[in-house]
């Protein structure tokens, strides 16, 4: 983005405060343009009235992210990568989380192909109110034969809606695949020093995004990007090579840093999304577990620092789970609130016989407890203490979760345990066991110590609830 204050954006707006964008004033709208939660087209007068057309165009140019956005695939499952404006997430947020593609080859038999694709497209993990999932399939041409590759690509399209990366350095192979797949807008991989002319021709002919591959040669990478842009091909992805080990891995990391810094600093000729290929870890390690571990390690490094799309091989849960969580970690908007409102909240339809479970107002803790309970269809009350957004263990250590806090939460919610429940008993998280005596004294209720992890609440409740004597 070329501007960074709402005032700079305001100058281009109609200034009528008509409110059609959903904001009270043009100034308020301008600040949303700067934090990128709204775009120029959300100001309807600018879109509808000719007299604003020029201003809108100028404004959108100024607001365009430094790193170009590239969309791969079509329809609901399409992914957009790139679009970043900062080098450190706390300065704004990172946009368009890294797209994770997992590989299949044209030498796999039908059964293996189907199984892998099925895992890639169905793998899911519940997390803070939504499912983490995987994004893409990379089809590698190992056979070297255009017909075989095209045949496999056709099968893959029949099996999944996920966007594809078509991998070969042979233009004839790529062309054969594009003949059957170009309407799905796959990402072509890749143009290199030898084949770039032909691949550029394919990118133009089939109108698909294309990756440029120049292992550890940033001059070549930039020269290719410049040449392609000159030819009018701007849906580009840059692959500076992922060397999996040794000093070359250090250089790989540095290349990612350099490309992204240059792009954010305004070198438009190299301001495109970056591709990593942690799959190369499998070329360095023989046994599956070591290769899979190292692949996850390389993927982690390059997810944190600037990889926008990556191709991987392992689809073991012990690889996928940390990869998906780390990506979520890095791409979560740091501006979103850390906390949920303190109070006494109902899960399901609790009655006077339902358990009362204490936790903190750290959003993550709360949603974890809530989903563990809701997923097992348990009716209960959750007492959310104001721990200033700190989790249970740390809040006990740091004095943010105390008997007084719990008492205050119940009082503020006008939740009288003796009146509203039959057992006058609260359940403390296992990690706050040391508060038991204090809570008994201050709250005047009985206290049960629950499990350390709320995932065990269902089993624990079966054994321990209702409490023995009323």
């Amino acid at each position: 983005m070329k501007i960074n204050s709402p005032l700079d954006a305001y100058k281009y707006l109609p200034g009528t405060n008509c409110g059609r964008c959903g904001e009270d004033t043009c100034m308020a709208f301008a600040s949303h343009l700067i934090d990128r939660s709204k775009s120029g087209e959300d100001c309807l007068p600018m879109v509808e009235e000719d007299k604003y057309a020029k201003k809108l165009e100028e404004l959108e140019k100024l607001l365009a992210p430094e790193i170009k956005e590239v969309t791969i695939g079509t329809g609901e499952k399409s992914v957009t990568i790139g679009g970043d404006d900062v080098l450190f997430r706390h300065k704004l947020t990172f946009f368009n989380k890294t797209a994770y593609a997992y590989d299949v080859t044209d030498t796999m038999d039908d059964k293996e192909l189907e199984e892998r694709i099925n895992t890639i497209q169905t793998f899911k993990k519940f997390y803070v109110g939504e499912f983490l999932t995987l994004d893409m399939v990379a089809v590698r041409c190992v056979s070297g034969k255009p017909e075989t590759f095209a045949e496999t690509v056709k099968k893959v399209i029949g099996l999944t809606e996920l966007p594809l990366v078509l991998c070969s350095f042979d233009p004839a192979v790529l062309k054969a695949a594009l003949e059957v797949a170009s309407d799905k807008k796959p990402l072509m991989y890749a143009a290199n020093q030898e084949n770039w002319k032909e691949v550029a021709g394919l990118a133009k002919e089939y109108e698909v995004p294309v990756t440029l591959f120049a292992p550890n040669d940033l001059d070549l990478l930039k020269s290719m990007a410049k040449t392609f842009a000159e030819m009018g091909i701007e849906d580009l992805v840059l692959d500076p090579g992922t060397f999996p080990t040794g000093r070359e891995l250090k250089t790989t990391f540095e290349n990612f840093l350099k490309i992204r810094r240059a792009g954010i600093d305004g070198d438009g000729e190299i301001a495109y999304p970056i591709m990593a290929v942690p799959l190369t870890a499998w070329m360095a390690y023989d046994d599956d577990v070591s290769a899979s571990y190292w692949e996850t390690v390389v993927a982690s490094v390059l997810t944190v620092k600037y990889g926008d799309i990556m191709i991987m091989h392992s689809i073991e849960p012990y690889a996928l789970l940390p990869e998906m969580h780390l990506r979520d970690t890095i791409y979560t908007d740091p501006r979103k609130p850390v906390t949920v409102d303190p109070g006494v909240w109902e899960v399901g339809s609790p009655t006077a016989d339902s358990p009362i479970i204490v936790t903190t107002n750290f959003a993550l803790t709360y949603y974890t407890v809530e989903s563990d309970i809701a997923s097992n269809k348990i009716d209960c009350y959750i007492v959310v203490a104001d721990t200033e957004g700190i989790g249970v263990e740390a809040a006990v250590a740091g004095g943010q979760l105390t008997a007084d806090k719990i008492k205050k939460t119940l009082e503020n919610a006008k939740f009288d345990l003796k009146e509203k429940t039959n057992y006058n008993t609260v359940i403390l998280p296992g990690l706050s066991a040391r508060l038991q005596g204090d809570v008994e004294d201050k709250v005047g209720s009985r206290v049960l110590i629950g499990p350390a992890d709320s995932g065990r609440l269902p089993g624990w409740l079966e054994k321990n609830w209702p409490p023995q004597n009323k």
Partner: protein
């Protein structure tokens, strides 16, 4: 239409532009076109004029191209569908790569190196450690090309003064030494390649065994006897008891330059700081994911307690992957960036309680408690990688020292951080044709 265009005018307009590549280019002749539309023009004349105009436009287009304007695209657009042949001609495929150099500036904002802190003391300095370890000294973000990183990352492995409950895959490594901290310490150093050892005196907690401080200090002596690496001394986390425990431990470890864990805002940090300065140790300044609290505590340690700058290490808190790592990551990254840009209240090496990763259910639970999840696979493999990824991401945020538990995690984390540091020689595979690799 009777606008007149003189090419000499064009030439003088271009002169005003500061375009080097135009120097020496002159347009010969001074053609004046006077084109009049309408009928009555004789076809031969029209053809001749057309030819002339096309020549001129080509000439002008060439100039535009030299100025960097994408003329070909414009032609293609203008001539549109009807002019397909023309468009093809106007867009000759580029035959040669447009050679250009990649260049990027080194950061000019990072002008203050991180304070170096040395842990451990050898006999030359009145201690009995085999070697010392120096943390910090960075002049750039970790592993960046802007400046060499002077010191690598270090791992200190956890040892407890009593048997504790831990994840199954961790426990299986320590069953034989649990209950004997000295043997435990030997094991992590000799077998698991720990750079340092952290002895956690958790049995001192009044709610656990309430072991007297004096007795706990004996365990510290045992560990110092058993291994010769620098050590970290941790309390139980009980804010009332810890200052006393750390005082006694600091006393028996006098001269060894241990790291006392920790001083925090919710306990009597003055006592902990005094124990460090009195007996020649460094102190771990621990706050909870809050950069301003970290500044405040560091300030108090320096100004109020007179702890020297070379004796402070920070623990800004590690939340596990999936359990607040995003806050922990950005908190550390912000701290390190501020430090490099000159904030002398944050300019210290950092330590991470990476072991916290074992609190994440993904690292130890047999299967997902949620029916909707895909199968989580074997936990033996999930746990170590959870600890690795938690630590690794913080290494990239600027963390220097890692407190860890699982031997595999330690090994892999050391491998990757030292690779990025530039310490690992390996014959890396040729990736030019990775697409066809057998994997």
């Amino acid at each position: 239409m009777s606008d007149k265009l003189k090419l000499s005018d064009l030439n003088s307009i271009l002169k005003d532009l500061d375009v080097e590549s135009l120097e020496g280019v002159t347009i010969e002749g001074d053609i004046e076109l006077d084109i009049q539309g309408g009928g009555g023009m004789n076809p031969a004349m029209a053809y001749a004029l057309g030819h002339e105009a096309a020549q001129i436009s080509l000439h002008v287009a060439n100039i535009a191209r030299m100025l960097g304007y994408p003329v070909d695209q414009l032609f293609a657009q203008c001539l549109g569908a009807g002019g397909e042949t023309a468009a093809l001609q106007a867009e000759p495929a580029i035959e040669e790569l447009m050679q250009t150099k990649f260049d990027v500036a080194r950061s000019s904002e990072w002008n203050t190196p991180i304070q170096e802190v040395t842990l451990g003391a050898t006999s030359a300095d009145g201690g009995s450690r085999g070697h010392t370890i120096t943390l910090g000294g960075e002049k750039a973000m970790p592993f960046y090309f802007d400046a060499e990183m002077p010191n690598r990352n270090y791992v200190t492995m956890d040892v407890f003064d009593m048997p504790i409950s831990m994840a199954k895959s961790v426990k299986s490594n320590y069953e034989d030494v649990m209950g004997d901290p000295a043997e435990w310490a030997k094991k992590v150093v000799n077998e698991y390649n720990a750079d340092m050892v952290t002895i956690h005196l958790i049995s001192t907690d009044p709610l656990i065994n309430d072991t007297p401080a004096k007795e706990a200090a004996k365990v510290v002596e045992d560990v110092l006897q058993a291994v010769d690496v620098p050590i970290v001394i941790g309390g139980s986390g009980n804010p009332q008891k810890d200052p006393e425990v750390l005082e006694k431990a600091a006393e028996v470890a006098e001269g060894e330059r241990a790291l006392l864990a920790s001083a925090s805002l919710n306990l009597d940090y003055e006592r902990v700081a005094k124990a460090a300065t009195d007996y020649g140790h460094a102190v771990l300044s621990w706050t909870q994911l809050e950069i301003n609290a970290q500044k405040e505590l560091n300030r108090k340690l320096m100004k109020q307690c007179n702890v020297p700058r070379d004796s402070i290490v920070m623990d800004p808190t590690t939340a596990a992957l999936g359990y607040g790592l995003d806050y922990a990551y950005s908190n550390m990254e912000r701290i390190r960036l501020s430090a490099l840009m000159g904030d002398d209240e944050l300019n210290f090496p950092m330590s991470s309680g990476t072991t916290n990763a074992w609190g994440a259910r993904e690292s130890w639970m047999k299967e997902s408690p949620l029916k909707e999840d895909s199968d989580w696979g074997p936990r033996e493999y999930r746990g170590p990688i959870w600890e690795i990824v938690t630590g690794l991401s913080l290494a990239l945020a600027g963390n220097d020292m890692f407190m860890m538990m699982h031997p595999t995690s330690v090994q892999v984390l050391k491998e990757i951080t030292q690779t990025l540091y530039g310490n690992i020689e390996a014959k890396t595979p040729d990736i030019t044709n990775w697409i066809t690799a057998e994997v």
